[in-house]
């Protein structure tokens, strides 16, 4: 009878009440403290410092400015009073000012157009392209190459895309007008003023769609790839038509994926400032201003701190409501599919 060496059980230590696999002896010196009994423990200040520092940073760059913003939204702060410090409480006057200003209301209207024809259309277009790519192209290499080409615009910085499209859309000598003339859609002397008041918002939507359609495309494509193939084979045996498969199987099963694509694009939509700034600067004559851009103008250009803060809060509320609605929907869908 041979006896085997008793194998050492993996050390499971309890340090500060939690299981740990690290030997306290291996701690750096500043990390260590001795308990009265003589056992080594983590110095009580270590966790406090490690958690405290990031909290301090977040307080400094997020929480303090937010509180500051809420405070000034209810005061008549502007450049003068900001430096003298004698701002006065004005209650909801700033909000009244914002909500009654045409500039804000029409910027909200434009945001609506942008959400509908920009963000929504991008998701729908991205979904359509993703499914077309997956169902229509059977060759894996071709599929990958097309996917990469479609995703390329997304990899450029948005401001650069803005500059690019500003050049492309120039009324004189712009590539787009040239193209339209060359293919005979337009007379040689005609000019489309893409960045003029009637079209400037639509030009922004165009440039943005060019860049961001790939995001919902990627999301939906990966969602489609992970759907179980057996379900599709069952549908083939059942004799379901392609349209039926799309409307009764694919789209319902991709519901939550598409909802996520919507949420991401909608959240981005509120931050849509970069291309506006580069391509039109909100112009001409404020005709392509979106709410965040107006808030930015109010606060940074005109230094109406109080009013800009009110803008920011209203935009925040608007965004919060929309995203909450989406999340509610998502939660409902996910709950219906739990424990699968």
């Amino acid at each position: 009878m041979t006896t085997t060496e008793p194998t050492q059980a993996p050390a499971q230590r309890v340090i500060n009440g939690r299981a740990s696999r690290i030997d306290p002896k291996d701690y750096p010196d500043w990390f260590k403290a001795k308990r009265r009994g003589g056992s080594l423990i983590v110095h009580p200040l270590v966790p406090a410092v490690m958690v405290g520092l990031p909290i301090l940073v977040i307080v400094a760059i997020v929480i303090y400015p937010t509180i500051w913003m809420f405070y000034h939204a209810f005061h008549d702060t502007n450049m003068m009073s900001l430096f003298s410090g004698d701002w006065a409480a004005v209650g909801f006057d700033n909000f009244g000012l914002v909500l009654s200003s045409d500039r804000f209301l029409s910027s909200i209207e434009r945001l609506g157009i942008y959400l509908l024809f920009g963000a929504c259309l991008q998701v729908l277009l991205g979904t359509a392209l993703a499914l077309l790519l997956y169902e229509g192209i059977r060759n894996n290499l071709a599929r990958t190459i097309i996917l990469i080409l479609l995703v390329l615009p997304m990899m450029l910085p948005p401001s650069i895309v803005g500059v690019l499209w500003k050049f492309l859309l120039q009324a004189n000598n712009g590539a787009i007008n040239h193209l339209l003339i060359n293919i005979g859609v337009m007379e040689a002397t005609a000019r489309i003023e893409w960045l003029d008041s009637g079209l400037s918002l639509w030009s922004l939507v165009l440039a943005d769609t060019w860049q961001w359609t790939a995001l919902p495309l990627l999301i939906v494509y990966s969602g489609r790839v992970s759907l179980p193939p057996a379900v599709y084979e069952a549908a083939r045996v059942d004799g379901a038509s392609s349209w039926r498969v799309l409307s009764r199987i694919t789209l319902p099963m991709l519901r939550e994926i598409i909802a996520i694509a919507f949420i991401i694009r909608f959240m981005d939509a509120y931050k849509f400032v970069d291309k506006v700034y580069v391509m039109t600067s909100g112009g001409p004559a404020e005709s392509s201003e979106l709410p965040v851009f107006v808030a930015f103008q109010k606060g940074i250009r005109e230094f109406q701190i109080g009013e800009a803060a009110a803008y920011a809060i209203l935009i925040f509320l608007f965004a919060a409501i929309l995203v909450t609605l989406f999340l509610q929907y998502l939660k409902r869908v996910l709950r219906a599919q739990q424990t699968q």
Binding site: V231, E233, R236, V237, D238, Q340
Partner: protein
Amino acid sequence: MANLELIDICKGFAEPVIDRLSLTVEKGEFFVVVGPSGIGKTTLLRCVAGLESLDAGRVVIDGKDLTRVPPYQRKVAMTFESYALYPHLTVFDNIASPLKARGLPKAEIAQRVGEVARLLRIDQLLGRRPHEVSGGQKQRTALGRTLVAKPDVFLLDEPISHLDAKIRHELRRQFHELEELRQVATIYVTHDYAEALSLGDRVGVMGPGGLQQIGPPREVFDRPGTLFVARHLGQPSINAFDGVLEENGGGLQVRSETGFALPVAQAHAGRLRDRNEREITVGIRPQFIDVVDAGVAADGRFLFDARVDLHEALGANGVLIAKADGQSLSVITSTSAAFEPDEPVRLAVDPNRFHYFSADLGHNVLL
């Protein structure tokens, strides 16, 4: 009339999976394909369903050549190993999906789904979604989806293999009793030999390349055509070892590489002598080896001594692994028996129960 005919079908991916397989399944017949995992059983079903295109050969249903016909025009219904239920649809809508795809009127759909659901005893669950029902109920939903379509051919891919033993037993009985399955040709695929032997009117054992043997369950089990078939049917697996045939005082005996020798039955000796080949593989089913008391009379059997390697008590019976002259053998024992490792045991076999397979190709040389 023959309902399903497969004529010389071939299908391969990187390498051939099915090689010139021919099979006829009669109307009303329950045909079970059994074989180890990854051997191509599912591929066979997919070829019949039309989900895979054939490399060669023909699929004929009710006299009509359907080789080039898409799945939904074949009047074939298939259940999938993963059930392939639509997760976002209720049990009702899942069962109704083939009827809806055909555009039947709502009232008729409701009536037919109701009938099938009552038959399968899932009529209480019609409003639930697949994730809200148990594995057995999911299986019945998948089965309901195929039954409701009233197809000519049923293809069932491991329909009950992933369920726990109790539900499996219940569903097995249900397969026996389902009148609907008796109206059409059914191919049922499983890796479980017990399921195959219990359910099949006929059983086909699938090996590399295709069906190695087709026949009634009893016959496939008792007279395996090849070593592969013998090995795949039965748990524990048949004892098989290579040996050489030798003359031994007027009789024939087979001696294994380790030196373990067994006599050949008179009835078999002639056939084996005629073959003029010394090398042979012997197969002995574990249930035909008995543990006997030391002084017991031979009574036509061959008695030999062995030593216990291992004994597993499994409730209804036990499995004893014993070694005789270096040759390891599995033996099915009665419940009450208990063995210690290294304990000597006396074993008895009836040489008439032996199977002999050619050492090179594995054919049963007695058939």
